[in-house]
C-alpha cells in the first residue's frame, strides 16, 4: 500500500462556457522517503494537483488515499499532522515573529507555548533558518521564506510533505542548498510531492512527471530504449549479398 495514492482524479474549475479542465484522469502513487516532482508550465494544473494531494480540495471524480484512508473523509485528521503542506505566505494572525508562526501549528495539539516554541526552534535549526527566529515574516527573503515554510510544515512531523514550487523566486545560490535540504528530509523517510515550473529544480529527484493541460505523463525512472535504425551491414551479411548479387 502506497503512502499517497491518487487514483483517476479529475478536477474542473469554473462553470458552463468558462469551465476549464484542471486535472484529467490523473493517477500517481508516492512511497515513504521518495521525492516525486511534477513539472508543468503555468495553468498546467500543478497547483490544483498539490491542493488535491494535500486534501485542501476535493476531486470531482476519482479518489485520493492516504495510507489507505480516503482523504476526503479523513481530511481534518490527516491535514496538518500526517500531511504537511508548505505555504509561502504568512498571516499576521498566526504570530508576529517567525518563531511564533512555526510554533502556531503545534498549539492546536494542546501543548504549552513554551514547549511549542522549543520545538519550533528545533525545526528552524533543522532547515537552517534558526537565525530568522525573531524576524518578522515580512523581512524574509525568498530562500528564507522557503526554509521557514518548510519548518512550519515539518514541525508537526508529517509523513508526507507537499510543496508547490520550492525554488520559485529563490536566488540561484540558494536553490541547490534548498534542493539538498529536501533530499535530507526525504532520507528521513518523509515522502515529498513537489511541483515546479523550473526544470533545473528536478535534479536528484526520484521520479518526474510532466503535467500538460491537466494530463499527467511520465513518472518512469528508466530512460526509453535508444533507437539506432541505421546499422552497418555485418561483414557476413555483405558477403552474402555479394554472393547473391
Amino acid at each position: 500500500m502506497s503512502l499517497l495514492s491518487i487514483r483517476h482524479v479529475t478536477k474542473r474549475h469554473g462553470h458552463g462556457r468558462i469551465e476549464r479542465l484542471a486535472l484529467s484522469d490523473v493517477s500517481l502513487e508516492i512511497e515513504p522517503g521518495e521525492i516525486v516532482a511534477v513539472w508543468g508550465l503555468r495553468r498546467s494544473g500543478r497547483t490544483t494537483l498539490v491542493r488535491i494531494a494535500a486534501g485542501m480540495e476535493r476531486p470531482d471524480d476519482g479518489t485520493v488515499l492516504f495510507a489507505g484512508h480516503d482523504l476526503s473523509k479523513h481530511r481534518d485528521k490527516i491535514l496538518g499532522s500526517e500531511i504537511g503542506c508548505t505555504q509561502f505566505h504568512f498571516s499576521s494572525e498566526e504570530g508576529e515573529s517567525v518563531l511564533d508562526q512555526v510554533a502556531n501549528g503545534l498549539l492546536a495539539g494542546r501543548i504549552s507555548i513554551t514547549a511549542a516554541r522549543r520545538r519550533a526552534k528545533e525545526a528552524l535549526a533543522d532547515v537552517g533558518a534558526d537565525e530568522c527566529a525573531e524576524f518578522s515574516p515580512r523581512d524574509l527573503d525568498a530562500g528564507e521564506t522557503v526554509r521557514v515554510s518548510l519548518a512550519r510544515a515539518l514541525v508537526v512531523e508529517p509523513r508526507l510533505l507537499v510543496i508547490d514550487e520550492p525554488t520559485n523566486g529563490v536566488d540561484l545560490r540558494d536553490r541547490d542548498p534548498i534542493l539538498m535540504l529536501l533530499r535530507r528530509i526525504a532520507n528521513r523517510g518523509v515522502a515529498l510531492l513537489m511541483t515546479t515550473g523550473d526544470g533545473a529544480a528536478l535534479s536528484g529527484v526520484d521520479r518526474v512527471f510532466t503535467l500538460d493541460h491537466g494530463e499527467l505523463h511520465g513518472g518512469t525512472s528508466q530512460p526509453p530504449a535508444s533507437v539506432s535504425p541505421f546499422r552497418r551491414p555485418s561483414s557476413q551479411a555483405s558477403v552474402k549479398s555479394e554472393r547473391m548479387g
Binding site: G199, T210, D212, H213, H217, T220, P223
Partner: protein, 178 residues
C-alpha cells in the same frame, strides 16, 4: 581548428607537458568513459599539432635506448584550445538546423509530431532528474558545466511543452476549419 581527438591531446599537453605513451595512458584515464583511441592515433595527433605549431618538442629523454620525445603546448596552441572550448560551450546551430529540416520532411501528421515531442519531453525530464546534486564535489568547473546543462534541459522542457501546445492548437484549428 583541431579535431576532437587532437583537441583532447592538446588539452592533455596543456595540463602537463608529456610524451606519447604517457598521454595515451592519461587519455584513457580522463576520457575513456567517452572515447577510446590507439597509441598510433596519439602520435598522429601530436604530429598534426606540431605541424600547426600548437605543440613543440620540449626535450628528448629515454632509457634503455628508447627515445622519448616530450611535447609542450605553445602560446598559439593554448589560445586555439581556449577558442575551441568557448565555441563548443554552445549547442551547434547547424545540427539543430539539420534536425529541423529532417523533422519537417517526415513529421506531417499531428500524432507523429506529438509522439516525437512527448518522447523529447520524457527524455528531458529524465535527464533533468539524473543531473546529480551536488553535481561535483570541490570541482568548480564541473559544477558550472553541470549548471549549464541543467539550464539547457530546463529550457528544452519548456520548449517541449510549448511545442506540444502549438501542435494541439493547430490541430484544433484544422478540425474547426475542416
Amino acid at each position: 581548428m583541431p579535431s576532437l581527438i587532437d583537441s583532447i591531446i592538446l588539452a592533455l599537453v596543456i595540463e602537463k607537458p608529456s610524451y606519447g605513451y604517457e598521454l595515451h595512458e592519461r587519455f584513457g584515464r580522463r576520457f575513456g568513459k567517452f572515447l577510446s583511441t590507439s597509441l598510433a592515433n596519439v602520435y598522429d595527433a601530436l604530429g598534426r599539432l606540431e605541424e600547426d605549431e600548437y605543440v613543440e618538442v620540449a626535450g628528448r629523454s629515454g632509457a634503455f635506448g628508447r627515445p622519448r620525445v616530450n611535447f609542450q603546448a605553445t602560446a598559439k596552441g593554448v589560445e586555439i584550445h581556449l577558442s575551441w572550448l568557448a565555441e563548443r560551450l554552445r549547442e551547434d546551430p547547424r545540427r539543430l538546423a539539420l534536425l529541423s529540416r529532417l523533422a519537417s520532411t517526415s513529421l506531417r501528421r499531428t500524432d507523429a509530431m506529438l509522439r516525437v515531442i512527448d518522447r523529447f519531453i520524457e527524455e528531458c525530464s529524465l535527464e533533468a532528474r539524473q543531473i546529480a546534486m551536488p553535481a561535483c564535489e570541490d570541482d568548480l568547473l564541473c559544477e558550472l558545466f553541470a549548471e549549464q546543462r541543467r539550464r539547457v534541459v530546463a529550457a528544452q522542457l519548456e520548449w517541449g511543452a510549448y511545442a506540444r501546445s502549438k501542435v494541439l492548437e493547430r490541430a484544433g484549428r484544422g478540425e474547426a476549419e475542416g
